[in-house]
């Protein structure tokens, strides 16, 4: 049953993603992208990763896509305008990006299949167990609850988390400086 549902939602997400990149109308593309996010969220639920599923809907479908729609509606984008201003080499860039994504995804999946999970004997796992005895004691199997994800992010992956937040801060500052001509 779970497998059948996985294929149903996976197919939905794929079809919606294809529709999102092929529609001429920018609003229709945005709608299909939202449907795609829901397909992904449903698959996360099937993996019992409730937290990730809900955050997927909250952040992408609920916030980012609303802003996308807002901008599309505000600018009243027409297809002709887009065709005349979009970069001419866009398809080539798309192919390169897709290739890079496939290679990166392949490496990630391959290394994940080789990695047996944190070995309780290594220093890393011991350190984590000392910091968060409740979370890590359960072993390599990590449930997708908010507690576990919080423990992982603010424990083991704290450096990566902080670097990401600095990156986002830089992006915000850049956006403000680019859009505001005069900062006074």
């Amino acid at each position: 049953m779970t497998t059948a549902l996985f294929y149903v939602f996976g197919a939905t997400a794929l079809a919606a993603a294809l529709l999102a990149v092929t529609r001429k109308n920018a609003v229709a593309s945005a709608i299909w992208l939202i449907v795609m996010f829901f397909g992904l969220a449903a698959n996360y639920v099937l993996m019992e990763a409730w937290f990730v599923a809900v955050v997927q809907v909250l952040v992408y479908a609920g916030a980012i896509m609303v802003l996308f729609l807002f901008v599309i509606m505000l600018l009243d984008l027409r297809t002709e305008v887009l065709e005349s201003t979009a970069a001419p080499r866009l398809p080539a860039v798309g192919v390169i990006a897709a290739l890079l994504f496939l290679v990166g995804g392949g490496i990630a999946v391959h290394s994940a299949s080789l990695d047996p999970g944190p070995d309780p004997q290594t220093g890393e796992a011991r350190q984590a167990a000392a910091l968060f005895p409740d979370e890590v004691a359960t072993g390599p199997e990590i449930e997708g609850t908010a507690e576990n994800i919080g423990g992982e992010i603010f424990g083991k992956w704290i450096l990566a988390f902080e670097v990401t937040s600095v990156l986002l801060l830089g992006a915000i500052l850049g956006a403000v400086i680019l859009t505001k001509r005069r900062l006074t």
């Binding site: 709608i31 019992e48 409730w50 809907v57 479908a61 916030a63 609303v66 729609l69 509606m73 609850t145």
Partner: protein, 414 residues
């Protein structure tokens, strides 16, 4: 799959924990029942809105159909059904058709995680004897361990119906309404979400049942988190597009805003969606800040009592929705944005920091710094305004002239 269903269903001992055919049937029946309750209460809210507003304005309101006009929603439904369903030529058909449904469904789906009643379960000690203590066990359709986040996620989808309805109508009033709605709801979503964080910090669980149990054990979070309560309440008014924040459909400037081009049942769906959002908002305030279905031990009488308590509290906040609508004037758009971004957002963030500090260092008094400081600031500001008005000779508001005397004198002049 079975595991998934039991996770969803735990906490509702109506049909048993085992996933059987009858378990699934019972759950579907419960969902259908709740959907109908929501629809009927939504329809009754339309009646209540008209009656209460009439009461506040010294009128009668609809009182002819049925006792006290209670059957008015049925009559309205008949009217909506038989009105011509106009689909203007200039619209985007698909989106125009879908938008009312998109705005109604998220409001209803949110209710799945809200506990509407519950039971008291005795705690058994290690020897199998009851220890004399009880825990509250909330009943809801789906007991998610991330209930609060689920609600925020689904609530953030409510904006699509309004935005897309405004866009698909392809008219300037509708589009303006839709754009206003998306900007407003995005802005207040932030404050809404951040206002819940102190609650989650104090309870240290995202499960709504745990939040209710915490409040039943200690005090209502309304008393320990008054600032969060106020921000959540006001932000939920903005999220439901109600006065004083009804810019997306303000009649005086935008005809009817995003639903200008809608008629018949499609308009009725938008209308119903607004009221369903109100019901869910009120139920959320009750659950997060006012103890949900518990009321100082009265709920121990049985689960029917729990339903009644929950209904009574929700009704009070629904009344407050109507009350505010017919009392306060509409904000200007810049005032709305200033309130959301320049006041609520920093105060909510400060509240999170203070609550986190109070919990980390176990200093309860820190919780009360912010509410006391805010009330003091409000009193001081009001005092300075009063003094300035005195200095500037601003005339005091006077009672409106009574109509009684006008009839005789006014008539002679004409």
């Amino acid at each position: 799959m079975g595991d998934l269903l039991t996770t969803l269903g735990s906490g509702l001992p109506l049909v048993g924990a085992e996933v059987t055919f009858w378990w699934v049937m019972g759950r579907i029946g419960l969902v259908l029942l709740l959907v109908h309750v929501l629809l009927i209460v939504g329809a009754l809210m339309v009646w209540a809105e008209r009656r209460v507003s009439a009461w506040m304005q010294d009128r009668l309101g609809p009182n002819r159909v049925g006792p006290e006009g209670l059957l008015q929603p049925l009559a309205d439904l008949g009217k909506f059904m038989f009105k011509e369903d106009v689909v203007p030529k200039h619209t985007s058909k698909w989106m125009y058709m879908l938008a009312p449904a998109i705005s109604l469904v998220p409001a209803m789906v949110t209710f799945a995680v809200i506990p509407f009643t519950g039971s008291y379960e005795p705690i058994y000690g290690a020897d199998g004897q009851p220890t004399g203590e009880y825990i509250t066990q909330s009943w809801q359709i789906a007991d998610l361990n991330i209930g609060v986040l689920y609600i925020l996620a689904i609530a953030s989808l409510g904006v699509y119906g309004v935005t897309l309805g405004g866009w698909a109508s392809n008219s300037k009033y509708s589009l303006l309404g839709g754009v206003r709605a998306s900007a407003q709801m995005i802005s207040y979503e932030l404050s809404l979400g951040l206002a819940v964080v102190p609650v989650v910090l104090m309870v240290s669980s995202l499960r709504l049942g745990d939040i209710i149990a915490y409040q039943a054990d200690t005090v209502w979070l309304l008393f320990t988190q008054p600032v969060a309560f106020f921000i959540f309440l006001v932000a939920s008014y903005a999220e439901t597009n109600r006065l004083p924040f009804d810019m997306p459909e303000s009649e005086t400037e935008l005809v009817a805003g995003y639903h200008t081009e809608y008629s018949s049942m499609k308009f009725a769906l938008f209308f119903l969606a607004e009221y369903t959002h109100m019901i869910v908002g009120a139920a959320l305030v009750v659950t997060l800040f006012c103890g949900g279905w518990t009321f100082f031990g009265l709920e121990q009488l049985g689960w029917i009592m729990g339903v009644l308590i929950f209904a009574a509290k929700t009704t009070f906040f629904l009344f407050a929705f109507i009350w505010v609508r017919w009392t306060l004037p509409r904000f200007r758009y810049d005032q709305l944005m200033a309130l959301g971004w320049a006041w609520f957002l920093p105060i909510a963030l400060l509240n999170i920091v203070l609550t986190g500090g109070a919990l980390a260092f176990d200093q309860d008094w820190v919780l009360y710094i912010l509410p006391v400081a805010l009330i003091a600031a409000a009193v001081i500001a009001a005092w300075f305004k009063y003094r300035r008005d005195l200095d500037n000779d601003v005339p005091k508001l006077e009672r409106a002239p009574q109509l009684v005397g006008v009839a005789g004198s006014g008539g002679e002049e004409r």
